[in-house]
Structures are given as C-alpha cells and as structure tokens.
Amino acid sequence: MTDLTSEQTQALILRLTVLADDELLLSHRDAEWTGHAPILEEDIALANIAQDELGHAMGWLDLRKTLDGSDPDGLAFRRGPDEFRNSALTELPKGDWAFTMVRQYLFDAYEALWQDAAKASTHTPLAQAAALALREERFHLQHTAAWVERLALGTPESERRTRAALQAVWPYALGLFEPLEGEQAGIEAGLLPDPTQIKARWLPLVTAHLTRCGLTPPGAEPVARGTHTEHLALLLAEFQGVNRQYAEMTAW
C-alpha cells in the first residue's frame, strides 16, 4: 500500500461513502419484502441479497474507518438526509416486484462491474474487499437478470409492469455513473475505477439483456448524484428512529 496524499484519501473516503450509502439503502428497501414476497422462495432469496448488500456497506464503512476513524453506526444512524451520498435510485420506495427486480438488476450490473474494476485498485484493502464482494454480486446479477427475463416475457400484465419499472428506474440508474466532485485524484492515482469506463461496459451489458427480454432502455438524462427525493427523509426516520430515540446509548 502506497502513502496517500490528503486529496487521495478524501477521494477514497468519498467513494466509500457513496458505495456504503447506496448499499445500505438498497438493502433496507429489499428487506421490506421479507415476509411479504410473492413466493416463499423469494422471501429467502431477496433476504439473502439484502444481507449481502448490507454486509458490503459495512465493509466499505469499515474501510472508511481505517482512513478517518469514523464510526460506521454513527454514519448510518446519525446523519441527516442532506449528508447521505447515495444515488436517489436506492432510496425510491420498493414499488411492485417488477420495480424491485429491475432496480436491483441494473444496480447489480453496475456494482459487479465496479467491483471487477476495483480489484485492480492500488489501495490493497479496497482491491481485496472488491474481490470478495464480487463473488456475491455475480449471484445477485444472475438471479435478478433471470427475474427481469421472466417478468418481461411472462404475461401481458407482467410485461406492462416491467416496462413501467424500466421507464421509471432508468434515469436514476444512469445517475450511478455521474462523476463525483473530488474523486478525480483517486482515479488518476489508480486507487479508484473511472465511472465513465464502468458505464462504457455497463450500457452494452444491460442493453443486450433488456433487448433479449424484448425491452428497450428509454432515452433519458441521468438524475445527478446529490439529488434526493422526498422519500429519503422518510426512510431515514424509520431506519434511524430507535437508535435516535435513545440518543445517549452507544452499545446496541
């Protein structure tokens, strides 16, 4: 591991926070299905994905801790909506099963490609964590890609719902690749993957699968990162409620 400049450290902290926040909220949304999924097998499978995503988020926050000494629980439970760095994609309500699966599929493809690229990071702990998470992410991608196909090529109703989900989710998914102000120093030093290169791999990958499923990605402008919807404050009120109610408690 090389010595990091302060700019490089800041770039790493920023990206780790973005990754953690995305996975934290997506995990939270996915877990809302636990006990309410369309089939019992999906109560199990989606709960598994939710645990993996939460596990990744915890891993990124642990890595951040090694850089700035921050407390993972403090970051998760005591920041306000304006401090969260997630993409709005991950804060949107769970919607119907098609919405959840299309969102998860597009995110999984992004995450798997990001992790694949991050294996080459010159920051060894990040490269190692990415390699570990990638193994799980490949399973997610397989699972959600199969669901998108099943729903898109199922009944007229499931096809209609899948199209509507793709329409709604697509601009937010594009926003995942928007450059982060302050990340450039990390990209130039080979610490972090370049999001534009990830997007160049992601777009043909998901377009090919969607096309196989008879779906067409809509033409849309990306929703920039840093833009939050009204859903985030509500989500955090629930997510953080118990923790904040007992403000002086540090051990749960």
Partner: protein, 320 residues
C-alpha cells in the same frame, strides 16, 4: 391428499401391528412406507401447522428489520427472519412427502382454517421484543423441536435437526441482546424488563395445554410423534430459563414461581382463557396477521402467473 387417504381406508390389524412394532424398535418411517391413515393425517396437521407458524412468525420480528438500531443487529435480524422462511419452506416439503400439496396447505392458512402458533398473534411493541422473542419464544421452540427431532417420521425428524441448529443461533442472539440490555443503561434495562413482562406468560403457554387437557397427545405419543408431553417440555424450558433470567436481576411476572424439592421451577396458574382467546383470534393480532399474509399472497398473484406463463413459453420453445 384425499386420494391417498381413500386407498388406505382398509387397514388390517396385521398392518397396524407391523407398523407399531417398527415404532417400538425405534425405526424411522419413510415417505413410501405403509402407515395408518390417521398417522398420516396427524403428521400433515402438525407439520403444516408448524410450517404456517414459521411463515406467520416472520411478521412480528420482520417489522423491526427496518428499525434495528445498529448495523450488526439489522444484519442478524435479516438473517434470522430469512431462516424462518427457510424453515417454512422445508416443513412444507416435509408435508408434501405425505401427499399434501403446498397450495392446499397455504390456502388453509390464508382462509383461517389452519392454525399456527398463537404466540405470533402477540404484538411486538419495542425493539427489545426482538431479543426477548429470540431468547424465550425460540428457547421454548427449541425444547419442543429437540423432542420432535427424535420423532418417528424420518423427513420431519431430519427437518427438525436442521431447524434446531439454526434456532440455536436465534436463541443465542436473543439472549445476548437481553443480557447486554439488562446490564446496560437504565433505559435499556427498562426495555428488557418490559419485554420480559409481556412475553413471559405467552412463552410458557406456547408449549401447549396441560397434559390432562391435551386432546391429541395419546395417539401422538403411541406412534412416536411426540416423545415427551407438553408439561415435560415446559418443565425443561422453565428449568433452563428461569435461573438465567433471575440471575440478570430481571423480575418474572409470576408471584407463585418457586423451586420444588427436586430443583424444578414451578409456575403459578396459567391464564388458559387468554391462551384460547388468542388461539381463536378473539384476542391479539390473528386477523391482522392473516390480512398481511393474504395481502402478500394477492399482491404476488401476477408474479406467480408470470412465472407459470414464462415456464410454459420455455417448454414450448424447447419442444420446437
């Protein structure tokens, strides 16, 4: 299911004698083996009730996944509730080995015809309930399931072995949480005590009516389905849990609780009126739990239709 029962309508004394001899020898009965129709009926009833309990049991604790106060607790709770779904799944499979169809069993739950453990009709009012359910409710379940792991029907017995090992993790995480809170800040301690006060009696009751009032117990024990009585299992549960709770300085809501000369913990009178009122849905959240299950089932109908249609399409393409 009905067809299987009809073909076994004529049962001979020889068949019964041979079957009971196998039970006495401690052999496991396997799906293809001859068995009395009543043995099959009792097992389907019991295993499906057990499966329903796992599925409905996801709800009271699942409600708290979104509010768990630390990342570690959130992860543990997700894993725990996921396990309950898994238990439900392989118990439905165990019932299927007896000729029952999962759809029929699920329909019986959704229509309110089938029963599930009434403990899940109690509300979870605070975060500490998650810990208390793990420690007490799963603790009681483990006692019952350890007994069932020795039961005469192979698939049920093996399912229990697997379930017990996972339930042991549930029990541990619940106990660890409550021990931490009981020794934590005054507020945490109050949360733990409040949860104990509300969950103590329901957990004592969930092991079922006293032996003298238990209608199904005779035949179940003769056929090696239940190898211990409700009161025996309840005694094991009390003897393990009472001293551990008292050691934490928590108060059990039973003024008559005492130890007898043999060291057994003896509880005071149980309010069976409450037990039956909860079982019958006159008290507690039976209607709400079934409404939630029905809503999930109805909302998922279009997804299941899509799965079937997609499957048909794949088969048609493969045939071309």
């Amino acid at each position: 299911m009905t067809a299987t029962l009809k073909t076994q309508a004529a049962e001979t004394a020889e068949q019964h004698a041979a079957f009971e001899a196998r039970i006495v020898r401690g052999e496991k009965i396997e799906p293809g083996d001859w068995m009395p129709a009543e043995y099959r009926r009792q097992l389907i009833r019991m295993i499906s009730q057990h499966a329903h309990s796992e599925v409905v049991g996801m709800l009271p604790e699942g409600e708290w996944i979104s509010r768990a106060p630390s990342l570690r607790r959130k992860l543990i709770l997700m894993a725990k509730v996921q396990d309950e779904a898994g238990h439900g799944q392989y118990l439905y499979h165990a019932a299927e080995t007896l000729g029952a169809a999962r759809e029929e069993l699920v329909d019986a739950l959704l229509s309110g015809k089938a029963k599930y453990s009434s403990i899940f009709n109690y509300p979870t009012e605070s975060w500490a309930d998650v810990g208390m359910i793990g420690w007490l409710v799963d603790g009681a379940a483990i006692k019952n399931q350890t007994m069932l792991a020795g039961c005469s029907y192979g698939p049920y017995s093996r399912a229990m072995v697997r379930i017990c090992s996972e339930e042991t993790f549930h029990h541990k995480q619940g106990k660890e949480m409550i021990v931490q809170y009981a020794q934590g800040t005054p507020e945490q301690r109050a949360l733990a005590q409040d949860a104990l006060t509300r969950w103590w009696w329901p957990s004592v009751m969930m092991l079922g009516p006293h032996d003298k009032d238990s209608t199904n117990s005779g035949v179940m024990s003769n056929w090696g389905i239940k190898t211990k009585s409700n009161d025996q299992v309840r005694q094991e549960y009390l003897n393990e849990h009472v001293p551990e709770l008292l050691e934490l300085g928590l108060t059990l809501p039973d003024a008559d609780l005492h130890q007898d000369a043999d060291g057994n913990w003896i509880h005071g009178p149980i309010n069976w009126d409450e037990f039956w009122a909860v079982v019958k849905g006159q008290m507690g959240l039976n209607k709400e739990r079934l409404a939630t299950r029905n809503a999930a089932h109805d909302d998922g109908a279009w997804v299941r239709e899509a799965m079937l249609a997609y499957g048909e399409r794949q088969r048609a393409q493969a045939a071309d």
